[in-house]
Structure formats: structure tokens, C-alpha cells
């Protein structure tokens, strides 16, 4: 959770983009590190996304079995019980 540090101030976790942008607006010398941090973050997220990989067909089958499969089975029992 990010929380307001004090009344009247927006949430800004240390190192967050909000903090970085706020600081950069006040101190121009910080703009470059802030942008670099964000670019590094985006690069890291893209690398992680490649590692995680797409939602596979097997995952979809599993999801369908647990939701529609089990749900459908329970629904059939419900109809039978009525």
C-alpha cells in the first residue's frame, strides 16, 4: 500500500514515479536520474515479461476446467436438486 505520508500530500512511495516527477519539477538536476530510473524500470519490466512468458494454452485449459468445468458440474447438481 502506498499511503499519504501526511494530510494534504499525495501518496508517494520512496522512489516512486510520483516522487521522482515531483523532485524533478523542483530540481532540474534530478531530471536525468529520474528519467533514467523510469527507463531502467521499464526495461526491467519488459525483461521480466519475457521471462514470465505468455498465458499458455495449458493454463487456459486448467482455468476452464476449474471455473466452467467445476462450476458447470455444481450447476448441474443444483438443477438436479431443485
Amino acid at each position: 500500500m502506498t499511503t499519504p505520508s501526511q494530510p494534504g500530500t499525495p501518496d508517494a512511495a520512496p522512489g516512486s514515479a510520483t516522487t521522482l516527477r515531483g523532485n524533478s519539477a523542483q530540481r532540474s538536476e534530478n531530471q536525468e536520474p529520474a528519467l533514467n530510473d523510469l527507463n531502467a524500470l521499464y526495461d526491467a519490466v519488459e525483461r521480466e515479461a519475457a521471462t514470465i512468458g505468455p498465458f499458455a494454452r495449458l493454463d487456459l485449459v486448467y482455468l476452464l476446467l476449474v471455473t466452467v468445468g467445476v462450476g458447470g458440474l455444481i450447476l448441474m447438481i443444483a438443477v438436479w436438486s431443485a
Binding site: 494530510p7 501518496d11 519490466v45 521480466e48 482455468l63 458447470g72
Partner: protein, 487 residues
């Protein structure tokens, strides 16, 4: 919602539901499945579950109703899961940000608006619930007369909102564990009420009870039970991304989402269903029967617990919405925390004073209205992420709202997605009128949410495919290069 500040199971974070300024970094995605399960359950388990179950009692008896609610919860979670979980876990983004590649940067305000209205709606219902519990305490103990019930309920609801405002004014540090305590209180309440129903009314009586106002068609009754649960699950849409973005893989999100968001809602709602069958005028609302059922010594503590649980749940909702409003306005505007809290709580106060019964007695309609907006949105999200983008997003573009961003579309809005959603919206209205619950065939075979989502998905894919090549190249060309697939 970011949820980045506190990440252990012992400090369940409050979801910052609406939007944040960056994705969750890979190193920050450290939530355990247990932590995510706990937070999901905390989000889903509130006293509104009693009212959802009470609504199902109009159409179904105890056993078929209970089973249908579990089945409907599982089917509903499929739509939410496909629309949100793979994208939010893979890219560390919350629900609103996940709409930017679909709706456009400015179009994503639609999602923010829907999420805000849902939160205001739920908060209003919970505060009216709180007011009724307070009124019942004063009247059942003889402090006030029956004639003052409505006035006392309204005053108590407003005082509850004011108390929440006061608690949140100093920040939300004290709320770190509030979700856990709400879930615990609601679970104990459910067990307590279930025991009282079994011992006071008798399980056999409840099991034999007829639905309160069923339609002639058995199939229709089951379908509407499923629709109510699918709509309830869809209304968790704002919460899902904020939870799953903190998990390190899509598979890790599987059980926390399924078990945390679906089953607790269904199981707690069963208590509301049985209570409504035992006390037909209650609609599952414990404030209207709990003193009759267990006497003052049993009923008053239950009512106090209901008030506490509702204060906690509204605090979470109000905090999340206020935080979202601040994020939306951005750091340059510097909207005071008190100002964003006012924007969150004042509409709720107006509702609880002016139209409490309209809201409270029509929870099924409110759920259906949420589904009218969210089912088509989920449909276009599914078509866009899997079939048009082949599960590849441009992370920089998600946070670049300039006209150069591929997710800028036409003046910040993707017209194709909106046309597709409008079609799904009207299909929903044709299949099921959310206010009157008058339906048209084939609602009884398909529900309304599922075909609305499906139509929007098909239209979004089809219309995008026939858009000019320049539109597709700009909006989806990067995707093709990233995924190595065609659009």
C-alpha cells in the same frame, strides 16, 4: 493500485484501486500466494455478501441457490481472470492501466469512472446498512421509538461517513490490517448467524422454504442466480489488478484469485440466502431479523459487529477512491487529501440521506448496472490482449500519454473499442433490463453478461481488423514486432 509499500502477509496492503504512475518492478513482486489470497478474500468478504445472497433467495431455494451461487462465482471469475490476470501479472500493472492499450490513454478514464461509481455504490450500501444497524439497536433497546427508524438510520449513516472521514484525514497507516479484521469479523458473523438460524429456525425449515418470488420458468430462476453472481464478481474488476500485479507469475495468481475473490463471496452469500428464506421480509439483511432471532443479548453485539465491519470496508473503499482521484489529477494539481476525501464521501452522504431505500432495496439492479459496463469492457480487453496484441504490451507506451504513444489512438481514445462496448451494452440491455429484471430470449440460456462480453470481444477484433492499415500499424504494429505475430 500499487500495493508496493507493504508486501508481507502480515501487513495486508490496502489496494490503491484506480491507477498509479508506474508498473510494479520485478523485484517488488514479492507477495506470497497466501498474502494475495488474504487480500483477495478481504476485498470480497464484506457484509454486502448477505444482501447478495438475500437477492438470490427471491428466485431459488436453499440448496439450489447455494450451489448456483458457487457455480456462478466460478463462472464469473473466468471473465475477470482472462481480462486482467495474465496482463497485470506479466507487466506489473493494475486494472485501470491495463485498459490503456484497449481504450486509449484518455479512454481509460471510462474505466476510472466505472470503478469510482462502483466504489461509491458499494460504500453507500454499506453506510445505509450501518445506519439500519444503529437504528435497530436504538429501537430494539427501547431508547427510541419505531417512528424514528428512518431518521436515525440516516443520521447514523452520515455520522459513520464523518467518522470515516476523520479517521482517514490523518492518512491510512492505521488501515494496514483492517482488511484482515473485516474478513475475520464477517466470517465470525456468518458462522454466528448460521448457528442462530439453525438453532432458532431449524435447518430443515430453511431447506424446505420456497423461493420468495420465483419466475414461472425454473431455467430462468437458475440463470438469474448465475447472472447475479457473475455481476457481483465483475464488480471486483477494480481490485484484481492491484492484487495480482504484486505476484511474480500468472500461475501464482491462479488460486488467490479463484479462491480469494470467488468462493468467499459465494459462501458468505449462502448465509444471506438462508436468512432471507427464513425471514422473507429481510432480504438477507441481518439488521431486520437478528434481534427477533436471538434476542437483545445476541442481536445487539451482532449489530455492533456489523457496524464495525462496514466502517472498515467503507474506509478501504474511500481510501482507494481518494487515492485514485489524487493520482488522476497528478502531482502538479496537488489536490488536498481532504478534498479528494470529500469528493469520495460527499456523494455517498447525499445518497444515504436522500435515496437510501432506492439503493438498498435494489442491490440486484446495482449489480446488473455494474455488469452492463464491465462485461463489455472485459470482452474488449480479452480480444485486444490475446487476439490483437498476442499478449505483448509496450510498457513505455502504457505510461506515455503523448500523441506519439501507440496507445493514443484518435485523440487519446480508441473509437473501435468504444463502439464495441456500446454494442455489448445494448445487447445486455436487450437481454436483461437491469432495473426491472425483465428479460428477452436467449437470456435464460446464456445470461446477459457472458453474451455482452462475447459480442464486444468479437466486434472489437473484427472492426479493428477492417480499420485502415495506418490505424492498425500505428496502434498494433509495435505489438506485431514484439510478439512476432500478425495483427
Amino acid at each position: 493500485m500499487s500495493g508496493r509499500g507493504t508486501e508481507s502477509a502480515g501487513h495486508k496492503p490496502i489496494p490503491d484501486i484506480l491507477t498509479s504512475a508506474r508498473p510494479t518492478a520485478p523485484g517488488e513482486r514479492r507477495w506470497s500466494q497466501l498474502a494475495a489470497l488474504g487480500l483477495s478474500a478481504s476485498a470480497a468478504m464484506a457484509t454486502w455478501c448477505f444482501l447478495v445472497g438475500g437477492y438470490v433467495a427471491y428466485y431459488l431455494g436453499a440448496v439450489p441457490g447455494a450451489l448456483t451461487m458457487i457455480a456462478g462465482g466460478l463462472i464469473g471469475i473466468l471473465i475477470i481472470y482472462l481480462a486482467l490476470v495474465p496482463a497485470t501479472t506479466r507487466y506489473g500493472i493494475e486494472s485501470i492501466v491495463s485498459t490503456r492499450p484497449v481504450l486509449g490513454h484518455h479512454g481509460a478514464w471510462f474505466g476510472i469512472g466505472v470503478a469510482g461509481l462502483i466504489l461509491i455504490g458499494w460504500n453507500s450500501i454499506l453506510l445505509i446498512f450501518l445506519g439500519r444497524a444503529a437504528a435497530e439497536i436504538f429501537i430494539s433497546t427501547g431508547v427510541l421509538g419505531e417512528g424514528s427508524r428512518d431518521a436515525v438510520a440516516a443520521v447514523a449513516a452520515v455520522l459513520g461517513a464523518a467518522l470515516i472521514w476523520g479517521l482517514l484525514r490523518k492518512g491510512s497507516e492505521r488501515m494496514k490490517k483492517v482488511g484482515f479484521w473485516i474478513a475475520l469479523i464477517v466470517t465470525l458473523l456468518a458462522l454466528w448467524i448460521m448457528y442462530a438460524l439453525a438453532s432458532g429456525v431449524g435447518m430443515q425449515t430453511i431447506l424446505d422454504a420456497e423461493p420468495l418470488a420465483p419466475a414461472d420458468s425454473t431455467l430462468w430462476n437458475f440463470t438469474v442466480g448465475i447472472e447475479i453472481m457473475v455481476a457481483s464478481i465483475l464488480s471486483w474488476w477494480p481490485y484484481v489488478g492491484g492484487i495480482t500485479q504484486n505476484l511474480s507469475s500468472t500461475r501464482k495468481a491462479f488460486w488467490p484469485v479463484i479462491l480469494g475473490l470467488s468462493l468467499p463471496l459465494s459462501v458468505i452469500s449462502i448465509v444471506g440466502l438462508m436468512a432471507a428464506l427464513a425471514f422473507p421480509d429481510s432480504g438477507g439483511d441481518p439488521t431486520s431479523y437478528i434481534v427477533d432471532l436471538g434476542g437483545l443479548s445476541f442481536g445487539v453485539p451482532v449489530l455492533i459487529f456489523i457496524m464495525l465491519a462496514n466502517i472498515g470496508t467503507v474506509m478501504i473503499g474511500a481510501y482507494s477512491l481518494s487515492h485514485g482521484i489524487q493520482q488522476m489529477t497528478g502531482p502538479r494539481v496537488r489536490l488536498p487529501w481532504n478534498g479528494s476525501l470529500a469528493m469520495t464521501l460527499v456523494p455517498v452522504m447525499i445518497i444515504v440521506v436522500l435515496i437510501p431505500d432506492l439503493f438498498y432495496d435494489n442491490i440486484g439492479s446495482i449489480l446488473a448496472i455494474a455488469a452492463v459496463a464491465l462485461a463489455p469492457l472485459c470482452g474488449v480487453q480479452i480480444a485486444d490482449y490475446y487476439f490483437l496484441r498476442h499478449q505483448a504490451l509496450d510498457v513505455r507506451a502504457l505510461y506515455d500519454s503523448s500523441p506519439h504513444s501507440p496507445y493514443y489512438f484518435v485523440k487519446g481514445v480508441n473509437p473501435v473499442a468504444f463502439v464495441s462496448m456500446v454494442a455489448g451494452f445494448f445487447l445486455y440491455l436487450y437481454l436483461l433490463d437491469p432495473i426491472t429484471y425483465v428479460s428477452n430470449t436467449p437470456f435464460e440460456y446464456l445470461t446477459a453478461s457472458i453474451p455482452a462480453a462475447a459480442l464486444s470481444a468479437v466486434l472489437h477484433y473484427g472492426l479493428t481488423s477492417v480499420m485502415p492499415a495506418s490505424f492498425r500499424e500505428r496502434a498494433y504494429g509495435g505489438t506485431r514486432r514484439r510478439s512476432g505475430a500478425g495483427v
